[in-house]
């Protein structure tokens, strides 16, 4: 979730124009790929593809930015974006923790080991977020919306993820311990309550910063109605109030768990894409330990259409493209060509994002959002370390000619 996402202009006064070419192209792409998935895989993969598309639209229309939300708190001392994220985590936690422990077979939470790998990875990821201009989902949806600089970020995100997969076994050998599901210690209700207390404390801290700087807090994250247009136009062309995006993202993650068996994740697909590309040019990925583990080995060997994160990412890209077309803003962010240093930031940021995501077991979606929705301790440590890294990234941005 990115910088450019929150820079959607106020569409209040402008007449609504749809970019028919982009909308048609996105719909044709959706039909073609959806048809192929239907024919070659299974109906549940089509459902996940469709969910990915809706999530892509929600991310674009909701302008729901982790990266910008964190930066707004640090630089502008504004906390609405941050509070929206905390609300999202709370809602998802309330729905998904009981789902995961309902006794239904085949559901796996986003729980990961806690240790050096997680801390280093999430810290690097935090730096990368601010330099690359977005996290995993943010990079994808801005690429879908036609942002050229983010294409560079994505390419190096993929490269960094593959490098991270090669190094991950070494990092896992460093000090650390097995996953800590909070439900084991506190029970389902207790784990939810503990997380609510944690989220509440962060919200209190965010509010304190905002009040101290501005005297009061803006409650944009609680808006239900668009400040510009009517319901229908807002639904199709944006910009959605935060609450809409929160509900869609929470529902999307819960549905992904119910249908796919695991919460929403993004960055594992980048690993698979990068590893497949290397195999095409003759690199034997099986020589690296990560790619001998059952799940990655099978994902590498089989079609991307059988890989849930890949299929959902394809949907996300098309959903963002569709949303950008409906808002008549496709590729708008690339109208002013970025400078060399801004491209360099995309390269460095992308590498840090990819490497960090692999070591940290995912991005803001797979590790943070889905991790908290699974009541896993690793998500909280990921949050703290990524935020610390983000502070460094924010300080580095001016050198790369990126606005703060």
């Amino acid at each position: 979730m990115t910088d450019s996402a929150v820079l959607q202009p106020d569409l209040q006064q402008s007449p609504w124009q749809v970019d028919r070419f982009i909308v048609s192209t996105a719909l044709v792409g959706f039909a073609l790929l959806g048809g192929l998935i239907w024919l070659e895989t299974a109906p549940f993969m089509v459902a996940l593809f469709a969910i990915g598309t809706v999530l892509g639209m929600a991310l674009y229309h909701g302008a729901f930015g982790f990266t910008a939300g964190w930066r707004n708190l640090v630089v502008k001392k504004r906390g609405a974006g941050m509070r929206a994220q905390l609300l999202l985590f709370a809602v998802s936690s309330l729905v998904m923790v009981p789902m995961l422990h309902s006794g239904q077979e085949g559901l796996v939470g986003a729980v990961a080991p806690v240790g050096t790998s997680l801390m280093v990875g999430s810290f690097l990821f935090g730096i990368g977020m601010q330099l690359g201009g977005g996290c995993g989902s943010g990079t994808l949806f801005t690429v879908g919306a036609g942002n050229i600089r983010m294409v560079v970020t994505l390419v190096f995100f993929i490269a960094g993820a593959v490098l991270g997969s090669i190094h991950l076994p070494w990092w896992l050998d460093q000090p650390g311990f097995d996953p800590v599901p909070l439900v084991n210690s506190f029970g389902i209700t207790g784990a939810i309550l503990v997380q609510f207390v944690g989220l509440g404390l962060i919200a209190w801290w965010v509010n304190r910063i905002e009040r101290k700087a501005h005297g009061s807090i803006e409650r944009d994250e609680l808006l239900w109605k668009s400040q510009g247009h009517g319901l229908l136009r807002t639904l199709f062309s944006g910009r959605w109030p935060f609450t809409w995006a929160i509900l869609i993202l929470a529902a999307g993650n819960a549905l992904t768990l119910a249908i796919g068996g695991a919460p929403w994740s993004i960055t594992f697909a980048f690993n698979v894409w990068g590893a497949k590309a290397l195999e095409v040019v003759g690199v034997n990925m099986a020589q690296f330990e990560f790619w001998t583990w059952d799940y990655p080995a099978m994902a590498l060997k089989d079609s991307v259409l059988t890989n849930i994160p890949s299929v959902m990412n394809f949907g996300l890209l098309l959903g963002a493209m569709l949303a950008a077309g409906l808002a008549n803003r496709f590729n708008e962010a690339s109208r002013n060509r970025p400078e060399g240093r801004q491209f360099l930031a995309a390269v460095v940021g992308g590498l840090l994002l990819g490497y960090g995501a692999r070591l940290g077991f995912g991005c803001n979606i797979g590790a943070l959002f889905s991790g908290i929705a699974s009541a896993s301790l690793h998500a909280w440590i990921w949050f703290a370390c990524a935020f610390a890294g983000s502070l460094i990234g924010i300080r580095l941005r001016p050198w790369f000619r990126l606005p703060n």
Binding site: I22, T267, K276, W293
Partner: protein, 64 residues
Amino acid sequence: MDKAYSRTRIVVLLGVILALIMADHLSSPTFAFNSGQGNVETALMQRDETACAPCGAPCPSTRD
């Protein structure tokens, strides 16, 4: 207002991505299975029970 993109580039780019997906799929176990080839293990319903994270990363203690 002028468009900020080239239609041709977008169609070509999406075509290339679709071709790559197709090429990957046509050489996959799932396609072989769909073509009637038996004894092919596909990833479609795979669950890695030794995994900690959804990406399949194992716990440190379960790694040999």
